[in-house]
C-alpha cells in the first residue's frame, strides 16, 4: 500500500471546555473509499470541518499529500485537490444547474476580472470550455434534463447529485462526502451508490461520512466515531460484528 493521501494523527478539538474529538487517528489511502460512521453528536461533522478547513483543530496533525494542513485556508486546501459536500446541500440557488457545475470549474480556469470586462480571448475561451465541461458532467450525472432550470427548483435528491457533480468537475484528488444519502429516496440512493463507485473506479479517493449502513458497503474500510473517539476500524462486516460497536452504536 502506498502512502496515504490523507492522514490524521492524534487530532483533538474542543468547543470551549467541551471536548468533541480526542486523539483521532485515521488514514485515507490513495484511490480508496474510506467510511466514517457514528451516532449524532459523535464529532463526525466537526472532523469533516477540520479536514476541509472550516474549523481549525486544537491539537494533532492533518497531513494531506505530504503537507501539514493546519495553516492552510479552505481555498488553499481546495486548490490542493480537496473538495467537500455539505450535510444540508449548498447549491447556488439563483443560478441554473449548468451554471452551478460551471462554478466547479473555478480551479481549472484562471482568467481574471479585467480579461472578463474586456472579453479578451482567454476569458471567452475559458467561458466556452467551462460550459462544455459542465454540459458533459450534467450528462454524466443525469442532470441534463434540468440543466437550464434554477437550482432553487431542484428536489433534495437532485441537489445532492448536483453538489457532487459540481465538486468533481474541478478534478479533485479527495472528495469529502457529508451524509450524501440523507433525504434521498431508495432509487436515488442506488444512483448515488453507482456514482460513488464510478468516481472511485476513475481513481478518485473518497472519505464518506454517513448514517446509512447500506451505502457504507461501498467503503473498503470503515471507522466508527463515538463521543469523539475512534472505537473501531475495519471492513463493514468486522464493524458490524464488533461487540463494542454493537453496544455503542446499534444499542444491542
Amino acid at each position: 500500500m502506498s502512502a496515504p493521501l490523507l492522514s490524521l494523527e492524534n487530532v483533538g478539538h474542543a468547543f470551549g471546555g467541551f471536548t468533541v474529538l480526542r486523539e483521532v487517528a485515521l488514514d485515507v489511502p490513495k484511490g480508496e473509499i474510506v467510511g466514517l460512521i457514528g451516532p449524532n453528536g459523535s464529532g463526525k461533522t466537526t472532523l469533516f470541518n477540520i479536514i476541509s478547513g472550516y474549523v481549525r483543530h486544537r491539537s494533532g496533525r492533518i497531513v494531506y499529500d505530504g503537507v501539514e494542513m493546519r495553516n492552510q485556508t479552505i481555498q488553499q486546501r481546495s486548490y490542493a485537490g480537496m473538495v467537500r459536500t455539505f450535510q444540508t446541500p449548498m447549491v447556488f440557488e439563483k443560478m441554473t444547474v449548468l451554471e452551478n457545475v460551471m462554478v466547479g470549474c473555478n480551479k481549472i480556469t484562471s482568467s481574471g476580472m479585467v480579461e472578463g470586462l474586456l472579453s479578451l480571448p482567454r476569458a471567452r475561451k475559458e467561458a466556452k470550455a467551462m460550459r462544455e465541461q459542465a454540459e458533459m458532467y450534467c450528462e454524466k450525472f443525469s442532470l441534463s434534463s434540468v440543466a437550464h432550470q434554477l437550482a432553487h427548483n431542484l428536489s433534495a435528491g437532485q441537489r445532492r447529485i448536483l453538489e457532487i457533480a459540481r465538486a468533481v468537475v474541478g478534478k479533485p484528488n479527495l472528495l469529502l462526502l457529508d451524509e450524501p444519502s440523507s433525504g434521498l429516496n431508495p432509487d436515488e440512493i442506488d444512483e448515488l451508490d453507482r456514482s460513488i463507485r464510478a468516481l472511485n473506479d476513475a481513481g478518485l479517493t473518497i472519505l464518506l461520512v454517513s448514517h446509512d449502513m447500506d451505502l457504507m458497503s461501498v467503503a473498503r474500510r470503515v471507522h466508527v466515531l463515538y463521543f469523539g473517539r475512534i472505537i473501531a476500524s475495519g471492513s463493514m462486516e468486522e464493524i458490524q460484528a464488533n461487540p463494542e460497536v454493537r453496544e455503542a452504536y446499534f444499542g444491542s
Partner: protein
C-alpha cells in the same frame, strides 16, 4: 430569444440616438444626468446584484472623480484626460485600501460601514477646503474637447455620456458572462460552498468594489465637466442613497434596469415639480409604490408583465 434581445437592443439604441435632437434642451439636460447617474449606479448595481452588497458610499468615488477633474483642469491647468485618470487611480486605490478590511463584513454591518465611509468622506470634503474649496466650490471647469470637437451643448454631452455609458454596460455584460461573473454569483448565493470550490471571496469582492468605485469616479468627472462647477453639496448622503436607489428600483440583477432606474430618478421628480412643494412627497410615494408593487424592480415588473401578456395571448 437571443435574436429578439438584439432586435430590442437595436431599436432602443436607434431611439436613444435619433430622438434627443428633437427634444427640448431641458429634457436633454435630464437625459445627460440620467446617463451620468446610470454609470455611477451601474457600479452599485454590480455590487448589489452580483455580490449582494449594499453600497451606501458611492458618492465618495463620484466626488473623487469630480474633484480630481476640477483640481487637474482648474488648479493645475492640465488636460481633461489627467482629471479622469487621476480620479480613476485615486478611487481604485482608496477602494482597495478600504475594501480589503471592510468587505470582511457581511449584510447590514457592511451597508453601515459603507454609509460611514460616505459620511466621513463628506465631512473631509468640507474640512479640506484648500483642496475642494468647500461649499464655495470649484468654478470654471473647462468644457471637454475631443479631437477639436468642443462638447459645449447638452446634446453633444448627451452623446458623449451615452457612449461612455454604453461602453460601461458592455464591459459589465462581458464581466457577468465571464468566469469572474459566475464566481461572484456563486459567492452571493452560498459563500461557504463557494470557498470549498476554491473561490477567494474577499479578494473577489474587493476587485468588484474597485471596479464599482472606478465607474463612480468616471461619472463624477463627467459631472464636473458638464456642470463646469462642483461643490461639496453635490456629494452628500442623498447622492449615495440615490445611487443605491437606481439599481434597487430598476432591478439589481439587470443591467438595463440600472438605466431605467436612473431615468426614473431623474425624470419623475422633474415631472412632479408642477405639484409645487408636494413633489418630494409624491416622489417618495411613487418610489414606495414601485418597490412594493415590483419587488424585483422595474425590469422584473416588465418581465412579469410580458409573461402575463404571452400567457393571455396563448389562452
Amino acid at each position: 430569444m437571443a435574436t429578439r434581445s438584439i432586435v430590442i437592443l437595436v431599436i432602443i439604441a436607434a431611439i436613444a440616438l435619433a430622438v434627443p435632437p428633437f427634444l427640448p434642451r431641458s429634457v436633454v439636460d435630464l437625459l445627460v444626468f440620467s446617463c451620468i447617474y446610470s454609470i455611477a449606479g451601474l457600479g452599485v448595481g454590480l455590487l448589489l446584484g452580483q455580490c449582494g452588497i449594499a453600497n451606501l458610499g458611492q458618492s465618495v468615488f463620484y466626488a473623487l472623480g469630480a474633484y480630481a477633474t476640477a483640481y487637474m483642469t482648474v488648479t493645475l491647468g492640465v488636460g481633461a484626460a489627467w482629471g479622469f485618470l487621476t480620479g480613476v487611480i485615486l478611487s481604485g486605490l482608496i477602494a482597495l485600501v478600504i475594501g480589503w478590511p471592510v468587505l470582511r463584513l457581511t449584510g447590514h454591518f457592511l451597508a453601515l460601514a459603507t454609509l460611514a465611509l460616505g459620511i466621513v468622506a463628506n465631512a473631509l470634503f468640507y474640512e479640506w477646503d484648500w483642496l475642494t474649496h468647500g461649499s464655495l466650490g470649484f468654478g470654471g471647469i473647462p468644457k471637454l474637447n475631443i479631437f477639436g470637437l468642443v462638447i459645449d451643448t447638452p446634446l453633444r454631452f448627451y452623446y458623449l455620456a451615452g457612449a461612455v455609458l454604453a461602453l460601461c454596460l458592455l464591459a459589465s455584460a462581458n464581466l457577468i458572462g465571464s468566469r469572474t461573473g459566475l464566481m461572484l454569483r456563486a459567492m452571493r448565493d452560498a459563500p461557504e460552498a463557494a470557498k470549498s470550490l476554491g473561490i477567494n471571496a474577499q479578494w473577489l469582492r474587493t476587485r468588484i468594489f474597485i471596479l464599482s468605485a472606478i465607474f463612480g469616479s468616471i461619472a463624477g468627472s463627467l459631472f464636473a465637466h458638464y456642470g463646469s462647477f462642483v461643490n461639496v453639496q453635490s456629494f452628500g448622503i442623498e447622492k449615495a442613497i440615490a445611487f443605491l436607489i437606481i439599481p434597487v428600483l430598476g432591478g439589481a440583477t439587470s443591467l438595463p434596469g440600472v438605466v431605467i432606474g436612473a431615468l426614473f430618478t431623474t425624470l419623475v421628480p422633474e415631472m412632479l415639480t408642477r405639484f409645487g412643494d408636494l413633489h418630494q412627497v409624491l416622489f417618495g410615494l411613487t418610489l414606495m409604490a414601485t418597490v412594493v408593487l415590483m419587488p424585483s424592480g422595474l425590469m422584473g415588473g416588465l418581465a412579469s408583465l410580458s409573461r402575463y401578456m404571452t400567457a393571455r395571448g396563448r389562452a
